[in-house]
């Protein structure tokens, strides 16, 4: 049984086709990476799945129910929660209150929601900022806030839209650890990411988009050998580097 199924989803903006008959599935407990060059339609696809956009054609199923055309809050209530690439803190509210809003999805009880929020803030290393207005956070903190808030909703599927973009390499490492923690909790992840070194080692499966079309789908190992992916996105040089790294780890 699959957790998320995207079936021939098409999204048009006037004459522009941002997603053209994209299909893929996400199995429960796995990490799926969604990659592709800028303008490939990754964020658009995220917006379609999370109900922010009405899709032009196709169907989407989540956890056994069809979610095509549902408003975004209903999809979130079913357990598919996303973060935003362009961070959207609730600026005038504190970091804690931001995460608390997410935590209330698990029930109206104050004590439990506060405990959940505290835990998510700790997991995402935001404890020192908890009482600060969210608008005052540095960019790295805002990215972690996106993650903490979504995590607090207790999702089945967490959709991360470039949570590592613009972070320093130390911060990326921290974020990767957080993602591992999340997976250990049994949460399924769908991750849009540009940093290949971050996504390739942790993904069970990678879906590659280019110009709105899915050009490849498979385990990372096969993706880095795929001719179409190399020419469209990775580049020969980079692909060799990833292949070399794979060889190294095999010998080790």
């Amino acid at each position: 049984m699959t957790l998320l199924e995207v079936r021939e989803v098409t999204k048009k903006f006037g004459a522009l086709v941002a997603n053209d008959k994209v299909s893929f599935t996400v199995d429960p407990g796995t990490i799926v990476g969604l990659i592709g060059p800028n303008g490939a339609g990754k964020t658009t696809l995220f917006n379609c799945i999370s109900g922010l956009y009405a899709i032009s054609a196709g169907r989407i199923f989540f956890d056994g129910t069809e979610i095509t055309g549902l408003p975004s809050f209903r999809i979130a209530r079913l357990g598919a929660v996303r973060t935003f690439q362009v961070v959207r803190p609730l600026k005038e509210m504190t970091v804690f209150d931001n995460v608390l809003v997410g935590a209330f999805l698990q029930g109206a009880g104050n004590a439990r929601a506060r405990a959940t929020a505290e835990e998510c803030i700790r997991i995402c290393n935001l404890t020192e900022y908890a009482d600060k207005p969210a608008g005052d956070l540095p960019i790295g903190g805002k990215k972690r806030l996106e993650l903490a808030r979504a995590l607090a909703t207790g999702p089945k599927l967490l959709m991360l839209d470039e949570v590592m973009a613009g972070l320093t390499s130390t911060e990326v490492k921290g974020a990767m650890e957080v993602i591992h923690d999340i997976r250990r909790k049994g949460i399924t992840l769908l991750i849009v990411e540009h940093i290949m070194e971050a996504i390739m080692p942790i993904a069970d499966k990678v879906v590659v988009l280019d110009g709105g079309i899915k050009i490849a789908e498979g385990p990372p190992d096969r993706i880095i050998d795929d001719e179409r992916v190399i020419s469209a996105y990775l580049g020969t040089k980079f692909s060799r580097r990833l292949q070399a790294r794979r060889e190294e780890s095999k010998h080790a």
Partner: protein, 340 residues
């Protein structure tokens, strides 16, 4: 904010309410009719502004239509007493329900649109209701409703000898409205409401049904505003369209809250405590100059506040508290350095 700080704040409110409840026991206050009048209006306008604060402050949806809900409440009570010779209480209940219904009907289409449509629509609705009530014979038309002399007491919510009865009525209204908002502020509904204000799409991505939240807040706000309107009618012993359903009255809901600090619990009280004495004393002193002097004073104050501190008086209070804290911390730091 942590729990302990919240509890300390509640103690402050509790002390304030006890203090206010004891006021009429001081004979110098109880016998000063004008002072009692000012205190009653401060409590009433605090409550009114707080009802607006639910949707306008916490919810971030600027409504210029609250005089309509206020008016519906006043007419509910007024018609029960004047037209049907009943006690005002059933009229108050009907007025509250009617106001909530009107609020939902106006808001439902507007909340689907983004931008200033809601504010504009509420503006229009005041004019519509004002005109309608002016020519509507059943509700008394332009002449309005004049209260007959009936037995005084809580049953009729009317007192002639002293203002003490009205004072406690206003205090009860104040405690009720502030209590409701205090409760909402620290529970899921209040957090969701603020989340919708700060970012509707973000809130929805976290499972918040923003439309339902805004409509509920609007209905609650309108029903409580109607209750305030009923009190106003009972207090003035008359209701007419220009008195309760005017843009002037709507603006007072907005201005008192913004001056005090929108989206904060104390804001409406601070705003009313500054503006209402000003309004009443200017009226008493310069009332002969014609109507609107109080609005001129309001206007000037608002301009100053918005330039100095957009968060209103509560923002100023916060700034001062921070300043004192920093000074104290600096003083402490200084002594520790001096110590060997």
């Amino acid at each position: 904010m942590n729990h302990r700080a919240l509890k300390r704040k509640d103690l402050f409110w509790l002390a304030l309410v006890v203090l206010l409840a004891l006021m009429p026991a001081v004979s110098a206050v109880a016998t000063n009719t004008f002072l009692m009048h000012v205190l009653i209006l401060i409590l009433l306008f605090s409550a009114m502004a707080q009802t607006w604060n639910i949707i306008g402050g916490y919810g971030g949806q600027t409504s210029f239509g609250h005089s309509v809900f206020f008016g519906i409440g006043a007419y509910g009570a007024g018609m029960a007493v004047v037209t049907y010779g009943l006690s005002p209480w059933p009229g108050i209940g009907i007025g509250m329900v009617a106001a909530a219904a009107v609020a939902v009907l106006i808001s439902y289409p507007c909340f689907k649109l983004s931008g200033h449509y809601f504010a504009i629509a509420t503006f229009a609705i005041v004019e519509i209701f004002h005109r309608m009530f002016l020519v509507w014979y059943w509700v008394g038309g332009a002449l309005g409703l004049d209260y007959p002399v009936v037995e005084q007491g809580l049953k009729n919510f009317m007192w002639y000898d002293t203002k003490t009865g009205y004072y406690y009525g206003a205090l009860a209204l104040f405690v009720l409205v502030f209590g409701i908002v205090r409760f909402l502020e620290s529970h899921r509904f209040g957090y969701y409401l603020r989340a919708v204000r700060e970012g509707q799409e973000t809130a929805e991505s976290l499972g918040v049904n923003s439309q339902a939240i805004k409509l509920t807040a609007m209905a609650l706000s309108a029903a409580l505003a109607a209750m305030c309107g009923a009190f106003f009618g009972q207090y003035n012993l008359r209701v007419d369209p220009s008195m309760v359903m005017s843009l002037d009255m709507s603006m007072k809901f907005v201005l008192v809250t913004i001056l005090g600090g929108a989206g904060t619990l104390a804001g409406p009280l601070l705003g009313a405590a500054v503006l209402i004495p000003l309004q009443e004393y200017t009226r008493a002193l310069w009332g002969g100059l014609g109507g609107g002097v109080d609005l001129i004073v309001f206007g000037v104050l608002i301009i100053i506040i918005v330039i100095k501190q957009p968060a209103g008086i509560s923002g100023m209070v916060r700034d001062i508290a921070k300043h004192i804290e920093r000074r104290r911390a600096a003083a402490k730091g200084g002594t520790s350095i001096d110590a060997p």
